[in-house]
């Protein structure tokens, strides 16, 4: 993934390292995250569902499926909220790994299937007006700028978190589960 220059927007931002962080030992681990959202999936409240799946190496460590707290008018909004939630989970996980003195290899690779969200978090010059979306927007972009995360787009077909946001057909479910358990169980 290409590293973009963010200094004009967020200054010399670097990932916050816990103070007094102990020196890590052992082989470094990489982290990967899949994010998805199902816009207005709840027919009564019109709220969206977030689905997040986080891997450390090849084992799934965090799986998360929750209804969002705000009503979003656009798919873009709900996907960005999901992306922000993922970002926060990732930061918590990275802090945890650091405090357990496990070395982390590079930024967490984050995959979402919404093109607009991905390009918005990757292109420094893109802007946004709605307040709570803007908050999610800056929250996500800051971690990208700091090198905590690196975001990329995957086709919906390959988004492993798809199953955490909508009820899918048995075939598609089985396929995704196989992908997850291939990574974890084999």
């Amino acid at each position: 993934m290409v590293r973009t220059d963010w200094t004009d927007f967020y200054g010399d931002l670097l990932e916050e390292i816990p103070p007094k962080m102990p020196k890590p030992r052992g082989n470094p681990v990489n982290t990967t995250c899949f994010v998805d959202a199902n816009h207005a999936s709840n027919l009564v409240t019109c709220r969206s569902q977030t689905g997040i799946l986080i891997f450390v190496m090849k084992s799934s460590i965090i799986w998360h499926s929750k209804r969002q707290n705000t009503v979003e008018t656009s798919t873009f909004g709900s996907e960005f909220v999901a992306m922000r939630q993922a970002t926060e989970l990732i930061e918590a996980l990275r802090y945890k790994l650091r405090m357990l003195r496990i070395p982390i290899d590079g930024p967490t690779r984050v995959y979402g299937d919404n093109g607009a969200v991905v390009s918005n978090s990757l292109v420094p010059t893109s802007t946004l007006t709605k307040k709570h979306n803007a908050i999610c927007y800056h929250r996500v972009r800051e971690t990208v700028a700091a090198g905590t995360t690196a975001i990329g787009k995957v086709n919906t077909d390959y988004n492993l978190a798809d199953n955490f946001t909508k009820q899918l057909s048995p075939e598609r479910r089985d396929h995704l589960l196989q992908c997850i358990t291939y990574q974890t169980k084999q």
Binding site: P18, R25, K166
Partner: protein, 304 residues
Amino acid sequence: MIFDIKMDFTRKARLVASGHTTKTPASTTYSSVVLRISVRIAFMFAAPNDLDILAADVGNAYLNANCREKIWTIAGPEVGLKAGTAMIIEEALYGLKTSGAAWRALLASLLTELGYESTKVDPNVWIRPAVKPNRFEYYEMLLVYVDDILVVAFDPKLTMDAIGKLYRLKEGSVGSAERSLGANIKRVQLPNGTMAWSIGADEYIDNALETVKATLESEGMKLKGKAPKPLPNGYRPEMDVSPECNAVITKRYQEYIRILRWALELGQVDVVLEVSLMSLFNALPREGHLEALYHMFAYLAKAD
């Protein structure tokens, strides 16, 4: 007090104090347990660093610690001639308010002596620097869940023996972890040849299914034979308008949700969304929601 009769009719008994009869102590009674995510990280961590995992149970753990409260009791006929005299309780008996904290503090002092250090992020994960024979530097991890101990190290037996010297480890409990908190743990080989650990809720689900089936049977029903998906096709729980459940059924619904949530924690990742959807109705489920849960159990029975 007998509190469990095992399959072979041996009785498991334990002296339990009535903690509710004592006043709440001024000192802390808090005793935390290890986070599930820490357990998952520990199992993950073992594979890339080629470490071994050993688990053990400390037998009658609490009794190793001293009682922090000043309590006395009147001796019963079981002490023979001295029956009727007042006795001061010295050991941290099961059931007392401070016992959990007392045991934890005792174990903590031993672990500190062994060179372990509690981590800031999860006080029940202990680590200490170690070096493998081939000079590879790493940290040993030790996880504590009350009396369950899990050691992740190149040679975890050393640590376990050190603990075993002081406290009686339950016979047969020392070994490679097979079950922890109700989860099945398996050793698997990855395609690239590395050995890794996998965690799953198979047995927990099996046990849960037995209970669910028994409940259904007592009402003359049974689980559906066919359930390709966790929820019925096209089912939208929020659109369900069937009558609301009564108090007893609501309780049962909540119990099932509790079971399912724990299964999720243990690694049943295929129903994450569905359980999340159904949990929304935990406070006031409708009959249709319960039906949907039965459908989910039928799916889990098939998926096994």
